[in-house]
C-alpha cells in the first residue's frame, strides 16, 4: 500500500493537520532541549517567545506585520510546488517587485486608490518578470529551476544594491542610507491597527491566499497546473501544454513574491530600503512546506513564522537566550513535517 492510505479528501485533511500539529510539538520539544543544553533557561525563552508574539497589542502587531509578506512568499513557493517546480528565488523576486513599486510610487503621480492599485500591479509584474526568466529557461532549455531561481536571487539583490547605493541612480541623496526617496502619500497602504505597523498589506495577502486557493482548486487552469505537478505524462495525454504551464507557474509565483516586496514598500517602510528583507523569501519556502502546499494553510504557516520572528526578537531583547532560537525552531518544524512516514513510525514506536 502506498503512503496515503486514507481514501478520500476529508480524512486526509484531518490527518495532515494532525501531522502538522505533531511536528510543531516535536520541534518545540527538541528546541527546548537545545536551549537547556546550551545553558539557558527554557521557561524564560518560551515565556518571552509568547510575550513577543502574542503578549499584547504591540506584540500582535509585530507578529502580523512580519507574517504579511511571508503569506505571499509562501503562496509563491507553494504555487510553483503544485506544478512540480521549486521556486527558491522568492527573495530576489521580492526585491525586484519592491524596487519597481518604490519607483512607481515615488515618481508617478495618480489619485490615491488608483495609485495603490497601479503600484501593486507594477510590483507584482516586476516579480513576475523575475519568475518568468527561470520559467522560460526551464521550459525551453531544461535549466534546473532550483539553481536558476536561486542564482537570480543573488543577481536581484546585487542589482537593487547597486540601484540604491550612494552613487546609484535611485539613491535618495538626502540620506546616507541605501534607500530610495519616499513614495507619494497616494501610494501608501493605510495602517489598519494603530499604533502598530500592520497595514492593508495584510488584507491584500489574505485576499491573495483565497485567490490562489480558488485558482488551484476551482478553475480549469488550476486543475491543469496541478495535473502537471502530479503527472506530466498524464497531463500531456490530457491535452495540457506542459511548457506553458511551467512558465505560467513560475511567473505567477514571481508575481506573488513581488507583491510581498511591494507590500513592504507600500505599507511598512514607504520606500525601498536596501536589504530590507530579513529573509522573507526564504521564510516563504519554509511556510510553503509547513502549509503542506495548501494556500489556506499558508496563512497559518506564515502566522506561525511571523510569531516565531516576533517572539525571537523579544527573547533577544530580554537576554534570555539568542533570539535565533526561533530560527532553529522553524528549521526543526520543517524537518518533522517533511517526512511522511516519520510520524507513522513514531506512533507505532510508542504503541510497542
Amino acid at each position: 500500500m502506498k503512503g496515503n492510505t486514507s481514501l478520500s479528501k476529508g480524512s486526509t485533511l484531518l490527518r495532515e493537520l494532525g501531522i502538522t500539529a505533531l511536528s510543531i510539538v516535536l520541534a518545540f520539544g527538541i528546541s527546548a532541549f537545545i536551549v537547556w543544553a546550551a545553558g539557558f533557561s527554557v521557561s524564560a525563552v518560551f515565556i518571552n517567545l509568547w510575550k513577543g508574539a502574542f503578549g499584547g497589542k504591540l506584540a500582535l502587531g509585530s507578529t502580523l506585520t512580519k507574517s504579511t509578506p511571508i503569506i505571499l512568499t509562501s503562496l509563491s513557493f507553494l504555487l510553483a510546488f503544485r506544478c512540480g517546480l521549486f521556486n527558491i528565488g522568492a527573495e530576489g523576486q521580492l526585491y525586484i517587485g519592491a524596487i519597481v513599486a518604490a519607483v512607481v510610487g515615488a515618481y508617478i503621480h495618480l489619485p490615491a486608490a488608483l495609485h495603490v492599485v497601479v503600484c501593486l500591479l507594477a510590483g507584482g509584474l516586476g516579480g513576475a518578470l523575475w519568475g518568468w526568466i527561470p520559467g522560460y529557461l526551464k521550459a525551453k532549455r531544461g535549466v534546473n529551476e532550483f539553481v536558476s531561481t536561486m542564482m537570480l536571487s543573488y543577481v536581484a539583490i546585487g542589482l537593487t544594491d547597486y540601484l540604491v547605493a550612494p552613487r546609484g541612480p535611485l539613491h535618495d541623496t538626502k540620506y546616507w542610507a541605501n534607500q530610495t526617496i519616499r513614495i507619494a502619500p497616494t501610494a501608501a497602504l493605510p495602517r489598519i491597527m494603530k499604533p502598530t505597523q500592520v497595514s492593508m498589506a495584510l488584507i491584500v495577502a489574505v485576499f491573495f491566499a483565497l485567490v490562489v486557493w480558488y485558482y488551484l482548486f476551482r478553475t480549469p487552469a488550476g486543475y491543469e497546473l496541478r495535473g502537471v505537478g502530479l503527472s506530466p505524462p498524464a497531463a500531456e495525454y490530457g491535452g495540457i501544454r506542459i511548457e506553458r504551464k511551467l512558465i505560467l507557474a513560475l511567473t505567477l509565483a514571481g508575481f506573488l513574491a513581488g507583491l510581498a516586496g511591494t507590500g513592504e514598500v507600500l505599507g511598512t517602510h514607504f520606500r525601498f530600503i536596501g536589504r530590507f528583507s530579513p529573509g522573507y523569501g526564504w521564510d516563504g519556502i519554509a511556510g510553503g512546506l509547513i502549509a503542506r502546499a495548501h494556500p489556506i494553510g499558508a496563512i497559518f504557516a506564515a502566522l506561525l513564522m511571523g510569531a516565531l520572528r516576533a517572539g525571537g526578537m523579544q527573547v533577544q531583547r530580554s537576554g534570555a537566550a539568542p533570539g535565533d532560537i526561533a530560527a532553529v525552531i522553524q528549521g526543526l518544524v520543517i524537518f518533522f513535517i517533511i517526512a511522511p512516514t516519520l510520524i507513522r513510525v513514531l506512533i507505532h514506536w510508542r504503541k510497542k
Binding site: L7, S8, L230
Partner: protein, 515 residues
C-alpha cells in the same frame, strides 16, 4: 525418492488485504521444466519471488537441494544456485551486456580494477554452450527485446544457477522466438538444470513443460503432466469455470467509409531514431483494425502519433477529412479521438487525482465542465463521474477516492468509461487488456465491439495475437516501423502472422495485400 531441486512446503505469504500464497506446496525435480500456471494475481510471481529471497514467507518451509533455508535474500539465493529472469528485465539500459552480467560477481585484476576481458570470455562460453547468441560489448538499450532476454538468462547462468525461474518469458516474443527459447530450455534440461516457467499461456505451457502446477487465488489447484492434459482442462483449473474461448464477433456492416487516414507517416522515437518509416493505412467506420506486432516495432510511437503525443516528421494524418498533422493533443481530442493508453499509470490517469478529477482529464475545458475560464461546474463533474462509475461498473466507495487506490481492473474501467463516454468517432486502444484478469479482459472486449457496432472506428494495438485475431475485422502487421501486410482474419493464421511479425517476410502464396 528423486531429490527435488526446489521443494516449497506450506508457503503462506500475506499482503495488506490479500493472501497471495495460501499454503502452497510446490516441488521441482532436477532436469525438469516445470510450468507454474495461473491468471494475473494468482500468486505465481509472489511464490517465485519468495523462492528467490525477495520476500520472506509468513509460514512454511523452503528446501533447496534438500537443505532447508530460511530468512535469506537474493544474494543467498544466487549462491544456492537459484537464478531468476524477471518479466520486466532487471537490466541497466545504459551499461553494456558484460557490465550487466558481471554485476555482483565482478572479476578483478591487480586487486582493484574490473577485469572486463575475463567477464567477456566467460560470457562467450555460456553463450556458445547453451545456444544463446549475444554480443557482450553491446549496450543493452540498443538490443532488441529477445536479445535482452538472452542476456538475462546468461546472467543467471553466469552466477551459477542450477535452477532457473523464468517469469512470463514469452510475453514479448514471437512464435519463432518462443521456439528458440524452448530449445534453449531443453538444452539446459540436458545439462541437468531445473527450470520453472511462470506463465499464463496455456499452449506454451503444454508445449514446453514437463509438468505443470496450476495456481488460483493463491492456492494450488493441482499438478499435472503436460502430456496428460489439454488447454481446456488447464483453463478450467485456472479460472474455475468453463471459459469462453472465442468472443462471438458479429460481422461488421460493410461501410467502407474511412474515418482515419494515415499517409506515409514518418516519426522518430525518444532516441531520435526513425521508428515509423512510412506507415499508411485507413481505419473505417464500424471496423476494428488490429495492429499485430512484437513490442518495439513502432506500435508505441504509432499510438502516440495518432493522438498528437508525438510529432510527425513526414506524412499526414486526418480524421474524417480534417487534417490533424502537426496539431496539438488538444486538437486531436477535440476532433473526436479517444485514446486508451498502453500505460494507464503513466498516461491514462493522474494517480493522485480523485476519480472525478480523472473523469474529465482531456476535456477539462469544455463548456459542460467549465462554463467559463473562472468557474468549474463542480456538481456536473461529480454527476458525470457517477454516471461513468455506474455504467462501466467501476467498483469504488465514492467518486472522491484517489485513482491510485483503485485496483488495476477498476482503473482500466474508469479509463474505458471516460474515453467511451465521449462517443468518439475514433478509438485508439493500445494494450487495453494488459494486466487485467479474465473478467476484465472479457469486459473490455465487449465494450470495444459495442463501440464498433455503434459506428466508431477502432484501432487496436496489442501484443496478444489471440486478442487481435479474435476482435479485428482486418489485421495489419507492423514490423520495423512499417506495415508489412494487411489481412482478413479468415484468410490467415497464427503461423503466417507470426512470420510477418518476426521477419516482415510475406507469405509465399503471393496473395494480394489490401490497400
Amino acid at each position: 525418492m528423486p531429490e527435488f531441486a526446489v521443494d516449497m512446503r506450506g508457503i503462506v505469504k500475506r499482503f495488506p488485504g490479500v493472501v497471495a500464497n495460501d499454503s502452497v506446496d510446490f516441488a521441482v525435480e532436477r532436469g525438469e521444466i516445470h510450468g507454474l500456471l495461473g491468471e494475473n494475481g494468482a500468486g505465481k510471481t509472489v511464490l517465485m519471488s519468495t523462492l528467490y529471497g525477495l520476500y520472506r514467507p509468513d509460514a512454511g518451509e523452503i528446501l533447496i537441494n534438500g537443505h532447508p533455508q530460511s530468512n535469506y535474500g537474493p544474494a543467498t539465493a544466487i549462491r544456492l544456485g537459484i537464478g531468476m529472469v524477471h518479466q520486466h528485465f532487471m537490466l541497466v539500459p545504459r551499461l553494456s551486456v558484460a557490465e550487466n552480467i558481471m554485476l555482483g560477481q565482478e572479476p578483478i585484476k591487480s586487486g582493484i580494477f574490473l577485469d572486463r576481458e575475463a567477464a567477456i570470455r566467460q560470457i562467450q562460453k555460456f553463450s556458445n554452450q547453451y545456444g544463446l547468441p549475444i554480443d557482450p560489448k553491446a549496450r543493452v538499450d540498443q538490443l532488441p527485446v529477445g536479445a535482452q532476454q538472452r542476456v538475462e538468462i546468461i546472467k543467471a547462468l553466469y552466477r551459477g544457477a542450477d535452477t532457473l525461474i523464468l517469469d512470463e518469458p514469452t510475453a514479448v516474443l514471437t512464435e519463432q522466438e518462443v521456439e528458440h527459447l524452448g530449445s534453449a530450455l531443453r538444452k539446459l534440461k540436458q545439462e541437468g538444470k531445473a527450470t520453472i516457467l511462470i506463465t499464463h499461456k496455456l499452449r506454451e505451457a503444454i508445449e514446453i513443460c514437463d509438468r505443470i502446477t496450476v495456481l488460483r487465488k493463491g492456492r494450488v489447484i493441482g499438478t499435472v503432466h503436460a502430456s496428460e492434459t489439454n488447454e481446456r482442462e488447464l483453463a478450467e483449473m485456472m479460472v474455475g469455470r468453463d471459459v469462453v474461448f472465442t468472443v462471438r464477433r458479429t460481422e461488421a456492416k460493410e461501410t467502407p467509409e474511412p474515418v482515419l487516414r494515415a499517409k506515409e507517416i514518418e516519426a522518430e522515437d525518444d532516441r531520435g531514431l526513425l521508428a515509423l518509416k512510412g506507415v499508411s493505412f485507413d481505419v473505417r467506420k464500424n471496423e476494428i483494425l488490429g495492429i499485430a506486432g512484437v513490442q518495439g516495432n513502432g506500435q508505441a510511437e504509432l499510438a502516440e502519433v495518432l493522438t498528437g503525443l508525438r510529432p510527425i516528421r513526414k506524412g499526414s494524418v486526418s480524421l474524417g477529412g480534417q487534417d490533424l498533422t502537426g496539431k496539438t493533443v488538444r486538437d486531436f481530442i477535440d476532433a473526436g479521438i479517444a485514446h486508451i493508453p498502453a500505460d494507464r499509470h503513466l498516461r491514462g490517469l493522474v494517480m493522485n487525482f480523485s476519480l472525478r478529477e480523472n473523469a474529465i482529464l482531456g476535456r477539462q475545458r469544455i463548456h459542460q465542465f467549465a462554463p467559463s475560464r473562472f468557474w468549474q461546474n463542480q456538481l456536473e463533474i461529480t454527476n458525470y463521474t457517477k454516471r461513468i462509475v455506474e455504467e462501466f461498473g467501476v467498483k469504488t466507495p465514492s467518486v472522491y477516492v484517489l485513482a491510485q487506490n483503485l485496483s488495476g481492473g477498476n482503473q482500466q474501467r474508469l479509463i474505458v468509461g471516460r474515453e467511451f463516454s465521449k462517443e468518439p468517432r475514433m478509438i485508439i486502444a493500445a494494450q487495453p487488456t494488459r494486466g487485467l484478469d479474465v473478467g476484465g479482459i472479457e469486459y473490455v472486449h465487449e465494450q470495444l465491439l459495442k463501440m464498433r457496432d455503434h459506428g466508431a472506428a477502432v484501432l487496436l494495438i496489442s501484443m496478444d495475437l489471440d486478442e487481435v485475431m479474435m476482435l479485428s475485422d482486418r489485421i495489419a502487421v507492423i514490423y520495423n516501423g512499417s506495415i508489412v501486410a494487411i489481412r482478413d482474419p479468415e484468410d490467415t493464421d497464427r503461423r503466417e502472422l507470426g512470420e510477418l511479425m518476426l521477419s516482415g517476410a510475406r507469405a509465399q502464396t503471393g496473395a494480394e495485400e489490401e490497400g
